[in-house]
Amino acid sequence: MTSAIANPLALIAELTHRCPLHCVYCSNPLELAQRSTELSTEDWSRVFNEAAALGVLQADFTGGEPLTRPDILDLIRSARAADLYVNLITSGLPLAESRLEALVQAGLDHFQLSFQGAREETANEISGTKAHAQKLRVLEWLKRHRVAVTLNFVIHRRNIAQLPEMLSLAESSSASRVEFANVQYYGWAFANRDSLLPTREQLTQSIDFLKKAQERLAGKIKVEYVVPDYYAKYPKPCMGGWARKLMLIAPNGDALPCHAARVIPGLSFENVKNRGLREIWEVSEAFQKFRGEAWMQEPCKTCDRRALDYGGCRCQAFLLAADATATDPVCSLAPQRPKVDAILATLNETNSVGAGLAPRSAEPLTKPDWLYRPNPS
């Protein structure tokens, strides 16, 4: 019964994997899509029309860096022509103010500017490039253009102490929203996890700080935050549930239920060049695989929370428990939870001194040995 399947609400359009930044927590897969395999302007235009027909309301333009697409203005125009709301998730480079004006005139609704920290040296270390000064310029330009602005801060152990400075940056900008999203551990972030996970003390202080910020700025700036789920009692409803709300199109046209789905062995993905979006959404193997509850094991199978968190994240289950149908190991009810507790125990023992929001020593003695995300060929 395909008619019982609810339509997706958002289309995540990974326009390219090319990026001027090399962030150590990049959500792209370890194997990046090559430029020569990227979908054409016409392919994307067809995808936007099929998405709108399927009931999608919003298109999230992301990457890599979507601004590296020379046809970005055409892509915005065609998504708007399909009556989609257009979000651009960007590092802010390459960009000049005249180009920003053109993006807004093409119909861009929402500009999400990512920051790697509040201070240049931290941001440069995390992104493996010098981009922070450009981001501050973009923030000034945005004040002069009519577009929604969100600042996206990705939070981890090396920058969590800078939350007050990050919030000040948001308050001095034209942003109506600010997101403080702790790194989630997949792909590049999984490889760099031991250098990124905050301590329990840091996390507790940060949540306290952000709750107060939410109250103080209510009606002015919407403050949103995401905790690292390793510290959570129950798993996150990853992607709002597998194949329930979101559909991701990779640069080469492969349709995925989430950013990290390629890590799950044996899963094959349909490509938008060969199949219509509706068919992919409703009947393709990858989208059907963990839709609903039939795939669940105990304790999920009979758990009261299964309609709230859908068993958590399938990719995390595979990464931590080597079984994509297991209960997400971050769940306190999961048989594999001791693995997560062991990771946290090691981390909190080795990093407990001076690791709070206002650390006793400003910088650790040694810098982590980062695995940087390269650029695809």
Partner: protein
Amino acid sequence: MSVDLESHPRLAPGCRMNEKTQQPRTLLMPERALRLNGPSLEIVERCDGKHTVQQIITELQQLYSKAEPAKVEQDILGYLALLQKERALDFEA
């Protein structure tokens, strides 16, 4: 947060209705979408920077003349406060 009756609510940058031809009518905004039905559609259509909050209340009290006027006012103020919390409105002088 309280709503000033003489201010002119206007949809904030990046907040807009979907096309008139599309059903159901929906308020699109960053990371959110709000389905609009009868009264909520009437309210949002008047958040154009030209109507004051008081004018919106008066017009809807006429439109929904069978409803208790105080209840209409209360519902409108509640809905505008919700949209303000979502940062979907700017209140201009």
